[in-house]
Amino acid sequence: MPHANSLYGPLDPAPDAGYVDAPPRMGFFTDTSVCIGCKACEVACKEWNLVPESGRDLLGMSYDNTGALTANSWRHVAFVEQPRPAGWATPAFLDTPDGPPVSPATAEVAAHTSTDTGTYPGLPSGSPGAAARMSGGSEFLGMPGAHPPGRGSGAEGRTDFRWLMMSDVCKHCTHAACLDVCPTGSLFRTEFGTVVVQEDICNGCGYCISACPYGVIDQRKDDGRAWKCTLCYDRLGVGMTPACAQACPTESIQYGELEELRERAAARVATLHERGVPEARLYGHDPDDGVGGDGAFFLLLDEPEVYGLPPDPVVTTRDLPAMWKRAGLAAMTMAAATAVAFLGRRP
């Protein structure tokens, strides 16, 4: 029988998906505080999974010329330039003759770029205002008290600077809407608790794409099917590490048993807080969150939305029982209305 938390709440997904004696749940912990933005993950993933090309345009989004997770980019390294202090470092541009920061303005320009990613709908352009804010941070909106005078407000010349980098990937949610809405059973839960598209099954109905609260899964042009990170299901099956995690030079991408990764992550946050990086926080680690916790979670140094992540995603299927109820009610209303209409007086 389905678990009480089958649609929402903490859950061990593999047993719920019918695996008896499932191995421990495996996942990724991506620690962006050590990411060097080298993109080895992007390439290693493409090499292993034979993922096609995803566009050759200069996007102007700092060093990000990939743009987003798509069917043709299963790892995506985000780059954010911000005139704000990096917790561990002394101000980058102390006493240099600078004017105000340009990153909000360049982010705005970059919001307009696009490229043919070989996927549908590709890389849509963005909202310039929201782009500017990502780089400026709230203090650029005249919010009071963000920083002591002379630091980062931009009016008197930039001093602080940090360059955020983050390798994004499918979250392998505990409650994976993409999987649950898939009408063919192409998307399925593996024994490792990961979420995988079975390419021999997918018929390209596209439902999973709308269902994903993270905008991860995507449809490939000229192929029609949906594609995303498989957490290297084939490699896991023979005891290997996923290609991206194996390649990652600085262990920003860590692969392992989810339970253990969560402990490691909590310790890392504590360390960073001790070392003067109070902005370090975890994202997607909590089994009580809106998706039951992610199988791939992150240590971030800014708000999730700055990295293109939804700040508080909730799996859509949480509300599915209520939806069915409303649909049932509507159906009955419809039947009743018809009956009434016909049972009325004959002319």
Binding site: P124, L141, S186, I209, E305, L320, A331, A337
Partner: protein, 337 residues
């Protein structure tokens, strides 16, 4: 996220837009994002699916009307409705298959039966409804068969079989008409998901309106009285059920503004026109046809409007980030509740 601190965030919703970085050329949005790009992937469904929302609803409504006509002895309306139901379901099947990235694999839909997947549920509903609607419609051909021989037997058997099939189709029809509301709502698309209490009602009403409209156009005038009543009921269901869509807050915007908003509003206006025309007219064939056409058009506009609104809401990060941010600021992370 109890171990999370956020000292760097100074957001105070709705306040303070005064001073910006000097180089900002547009007023800063009140939320952050990654280069303003959408957080979500906009639905990849083409207009096939908006079309299907209409044709599926039309088929369902027609099957219901067909059954009503069958049970109340309105053969003309019955015939029209049964053929409309078949046409609707055939068009639906075509549109659904056509929208697939891999149409040749449409039968993979029948691999599994998943209650968590409205599309899977819908597939099985369609699988039940379609053949029944087909049999019911084909049974209407009985008079064309010869009187004698094997086909003569068929001619005699067809009407009762058609009646059973018609009733069976009608039994599944309300599900067919309303599941599509869940189909759209069970997504991360903000305007669709947030409208989940309304969508089944809107779609139910819209289905009845469209089916009534076709009946008004094509059925003998003498048999259309229930359709006029039904049109009123449809309008009531749709308008009452849909009124909450406007109160969604920011994710309701696409239903009120832009192209999608215009379509939704046009749908309502047409619905009103069609319903009123149906009510006032009792005899005019032309007015009936106009009324019917308005109802059909209303349904089309509503379906495309709702469909488009979802796309708009997924395309702009505002609709994803702002409500989630607001939720976080008011209640803390979802986990905390």
């Amino acid at each position: 996220m109890t171990d999370t601190t956020r000292p760097d965030r100074q957001r105070q919703a709705g306040r303070g837009r005064g001073h910006g970085g000097e180089q900002l050329t547009v007023p800063p949005a009140d939320f952050s994002s990654y280069y303003g790009r959408p957080v979500l992937k906009p639905p990849v469904w083409k207009h096939d699916i908006a079309g299907y929302l209409f044709t599926g609803g039309l088929a369902a409504g027609s099957a219901l009307i067909g059954a009503g006509a069958q049970l109340t002895g309105r053969p003309g309306l019955r015939t029209v409705s049964r053929w409309t139901a078949l046409g609707g379901v055939a068009a639906s099947t075509y549109l659904l298959v056509h929208d697939l990235g891999r149409p040749a694999r449409f039968h993979h839909m029948l691999r599994v039966a998943k209650l968590t997947s409205p599309m899977s549920v819908g597939t099985w509903i369609l699988a039940a409804f379609g053949p029944m609607a087909g049999v019911a419609a084909v049974a209407e051909l009985a008079p064309l068969l010869p009187q004698h021989g094997a086909l003569g037997l068929a001619r005699r058997l067809a009407p009762p079989v058609g009646d059973i099939a018609g009733l069976a189709a009608a039994a599944t029809a309300p599900a067919l008409a309303t599941y599509t509301g869940v189909l759209l709502a069970d997504t991360a698309v903000p305007s669709w998901h947030d409208a989940y209490p309304s969508l089944p009602f809107v779609f139910a009403g819209s289905a009845l309106a469209a089916a009534s409209g076709v009946g008004l156009i094509a059925a003998p005038a003498a048999e259309t009285a229930p359709l006029r009543r039904l049109a009123v009921a449809a309008a009531t269901i749709e308008l009452v059920g849909g009124r909450r869509m406007e109160r969604l807050g920011v994710t309701g915007e696409p239903y009120a503004h832009g192209r999608s908003g215009r379509l939704v509003r046009a749908g309502r206006a047409l619905l009103a026109v069609g319903t009123v025309a149906a009510l006032v007219n009792r005899r005019s064939r032309i007015l009936s046809a106009i009324s019917g056409a308005a109802l059909v058009a209303s349904s089309v506009a509503t379906r495309f409007g709702v469909f488009e609104a979802g796309r708009v809401s997924a395309r702009d990060p505002k609709y994803t980030v702002l409500p989630q941010r607001e939720r976080l600021d008011q209640h803390g992370p979802t986990a905390g509740r």
